[in-house]
Amino acid sequence: MGQYIVRRLLTAIPTILVISFIIFAVVDLSPSDPTGNLPLTIPPEVRQKIREALGADDPFVVKYVKWLQQFFISEPLNLIETSFGITFPGSEDRVRVISWATRGPVIDIIAERLPQTIWVVGSSYILGILIAVPVGVFSAYRQYSVFDQVGTFLMMVGFSVPTFFTGLMFIIIFSVNLKWFPSVYDTTLVVTDIETLQLQLRQMFMPVTVLTLYTTAQMSRYTRASTLENLQQDYIRTARSKGLTERVVVTTHAVRNSLIPVVTLIALGIPGIFAGALITEQIFRVNGIGQYLIIAIQGGDLPTVQTVTFIFAVLVVLFNIVADVLYGILDPRVTYT
């Protein structure tokens, strides 16, 4: 197993490099201009100067190699320096990945935004799983019952109604009419006591609910299908004929086996937490990673778009490996050599 993991990690390196090149090429070739949002009164010569100062007009290869160096050498060195309080020679001249819009290091902004993205998207993911698994299992166990029918209907609604619609509906109901929850997320809020925790929970309620609805819908369909399949297997009949109680048959035998593909799905979905929820973050002004990526794309901010999408790509590759390893642990039939 250990050998397998090492091998997978090593083969991931060229994959990641190819991905970084493709992302860079796609972003660089897209027709966007970092000076595009400036007022019309700023003349073309000034815009040209700004692009030169940013290095936006450098040849493709130069820009790519610069980024590689900044991301793979400068950033890790900087991370080591700041976390251990040591200084390497040449620390002053080291250029980190700098955003064209904010002129500040991209990684710092990502780090600054990660907490709110994880609070909102992460908790909705966990909440979604906690609801989806029991609902899916029970739906499958009582297939075609009223619970199953209603559940299926609700899940289809949750799955097909877009978050920008549910989000807006929530704001109109809970913020405008009832005035229960704020529609503007305060990212500067620090949880220190009961009162601030309460504020935090209140401002998280709407975005989390909107996202949970969507996650639950997706996951519970998966759980239901997988459980249905397992309930018809011979070993379930064996378990029942041994005289085991229904409770044991379902929870210990059926659910355990049904959850194997669900766990994989959950693992593969974790990088999505990092990417944030593009639309929901925008609606509630959570201003996490998703909103950062949108602004960067609109502003033609190549270093930012490149860095955020690349980190996302790395996480996808890593969690694919995690999912595969988990499969081996959960399912004794799978062995890795």
Binding site: R103, G104, N287, Q291
Partner: protein, 571 residues
């Protein structure tokens, strides 16, 4: 399971309603929503208005523009003028006297060195300074002692109030930005994210593209008057214009929402909730019908090209009786009231600001009977009985183009109706805005090419001084194939008197004298039928909560220009 979940939800809601919900307006804090988030707090590296406005809360220029376009001294003691010796007789230099009682928020004194440094900072050849055009034509900026700065230009500048005036070019602290020149400009993140200013607030925390929080500047020059009246400012970004308006007008979570480019019907409905109001700023933006004096027939090889000898003239639109009648047929009041609402006023003038430049010499009230009589008297009548008049054998039939936009198409429909009443036939055409304003010299549909008899769009000036704006219509600046259709004189206007006044303007100093010349230029443009002004349009619309006082919208400067005067009303 479902019932438990519902129960849980009900419990959460019940709990939350017990724990005092409802948004109270904080006495000490003001919340501003910008749907575009600020990404940097240095206007010299800004990527849009949002960055300038977020900086304006901290940084200050020598003078601001007020809502009426006049100059208001900020860091200067007075506005330089020839009378006070601030502007040299040959108009090539200007001397600003700085206030000697101003300190930076870190307590160090503000001096002429900072002003000189700001000029050097933005004009450094390797810097990529966004505002460098504002400093064009400057030979030198010198400190004359601690509190005087002399700016010398390479030619007479009768209106020298571009550099270091308004929130696009505020003064930076030399001590903080001294190391940030040229290529180092972008590397100074700490300074760019937290500039030290002289303004009413200081940056407390800046999260790029998200939120800025500011705290009161204890060293603010008007601190003894209690200014600013808030302890903190939250400048939150993100989301969209509609939800920003909702947060002020419907939920009351925020005090101010910027640039609400949303449908008037939606905005009116939100305002009706009674929590706040919409404020509109007027600068110089005018919706105009432009009249083409050149021959635009499709088979003409010189289509829409102005010839100085008058050889390529339009068959009837160069006749002033006809254009005057067309102008008389239009009721601008109906257009403004029905189609623009609070975002526009009916006007007879091309120049609607500053106040002293607004002409009263032109009457543009609708007079269809008068227009008919005018045409009849001139013998321009319908001879072939098709319901439309002819002039020298040409049917009075015009093609009228504009960009695709509901308000514009409604305007077109109204005007087509009025023109048909006086016997002028109109063919309407609308072009996608991206093409029409796109400026592609290969496209036949740009507003510069003007391949139609009349067209309609909005034009404006960002400076309250109209010299540059009116200079656009100088003879010889018409778009032609030779300049790749980039000329600024869309109406192909050519008038010796007009050009002579423009020359006079470039040597005339003093606000009143210049305003008088703007007025004369306006009258010539309108009376010589280069254009028909329709609606004086607003340049910005923002919403603010009823409990927020002191907001004064400004079409010439940052909306945050007077934030030190904002206060909380007792509700």
């Amino acid at each position: 399971m479902k019932t438990k979940l519902t129960l849980l939800l009900i419990v959460i809601m019940a709990l939350s309603s017990v724990f005092g919900i409802g948004v109270a307006q904080d006495m000490n804090e003001v919340t501003i929503l910008y749907w575009q988030a600020a990404s940097i707090l240095n206007p010299y590296l800004s990527s849009g208005t949002k960055d300038n406005d977020a900086s304006a809360i901290v940084l200050e220029p020598l003078a601001n523009f007020g809502p009426d376009g006049s100059l208001v001294p900020v860091l200067a003691t007075e506005i330089p003028a020839p009378e006070n010796g601030g502007i040299s007789e040959d108009l090539t230099s200007i001397t600003w006297t700085l206030r000697d009682d101003v300190v930076w928020s870190d307590g160090t004194p503000f001096t002429a060195e900072d002003v000189v440094f700001t000029y050097e900072y933005c004009t450094h050849p390797e810097g990529g300074c966004v505002q460098s055009d504002e400093f064009a034509g400057i030979v030198s900026v010198e400190a004359m002692g601690m509190h005087q700065v002399k700016i010398t230009f390479d030619a007479p500048k009768p209106y020298p109030f571009l550099p270091l005036v308004a929130q696009t070019t505020p003064i930076l602290q030399k001590a903080q930005f001294g190391e940030c020149l040229g290529a180092e400009m972008a590397a100074c993140s700490d300074a760019n994210f937290g500039p030290i200013g002289t303004g009413p607030f200081m940056v407390e925390e800046f999260r790029p593209n998200d939120v800025v929080s500011y705290v009161r500047n204890p060293n603010f020059r008007d601190a003894d008057m209690g200014k600013p009246f808030f302890d903190r400012v939250i400048f939150k970004g993100g989301g969209d214009a509609e939800s920003a308006a909702r947060a002020v007008l419907e939920t009351g979570e925020a005090d101010y929402a910027w640039n609400l480019q949303i449908s008037p019907a939606v905005l009116d409905a939100m305002e009706a909730a009674g929590n706040g109001q919409i404020a509109v700023a007027f600068g110089q933006a005018i919706e105009t019908i432009w009249i083409n004096p050149t021959d635009v027939s499709p088979d003409n090889p010189n289509r829409s090209v102005w010839m100085t000898d008058g050889s390529n003239a339009h068959p009837f639109l160069t006749n002033k009786t006809i254009t005057q009648a067309m102008s008389m047929a239009i009721d601008t009041t109906i257009i403004a009231e029905q189609l623009y609402g609070r975002s526009g006023y009916a006007t007879c003038n091309f120049i609607n600001a500053p106040a002293a430049a607004v002409s009263t010499n032109i009457d543009c009230s609708q007079d269809i009977a008068g227009a008919i009589a005018l045409l009849d008297e001139a013998g321009i009548v319908d001879t072939n009985g098709d319901g439309f008049r002819e002039y020298n054998g040409h049917e009075l039939r015009v093609q009228y183009q504009t960009s695709t936009n509901a308000v514009r198409q409604n305007t077109q429909a109204l005007i087509k109706q009025w023109w048909s009443e006086i016997g002028v036939d109109t063919e309407l055409r609308n072009i996608d805005a991206a093409v029409y304003f796109g400026g592609d010299p290969g496209s036949p549909d740009t507003f510069q090419k003007f391949y139609s008899d009349v067209e309609m769009y909005t034009t404006g000036s960002s400076s309250p001084d109209m010299e540059g704006f009116l200079g656009n219509n100088r003879c010889g600046q018409a778009p032609t194939p030779d300049n790749n259709w980039t000329g600024s004189n869309t109406p192909r206007f050519c008038n010796d008197e007009y050009d002579a006044i423009l020359d006079e303007l470039s040597a005339t100093a003093g606000e009143a004298a210049r305003a008088a010349l703007f007025l004369r230029l306006n009258d010539i443009l309108v009376q010589e039928s280069a254009l028909i002004p329709l609606v004086y349009r607003s340049s910005a619309a923002s919403a603010f909560h009823n409990s927020l006082g002191g907001v004064e919208m400004n079409g010439w400067d940052s909306e945050m220009w007077n934030i030190e005067d904002w206060y909380r009303l007792d509700m």
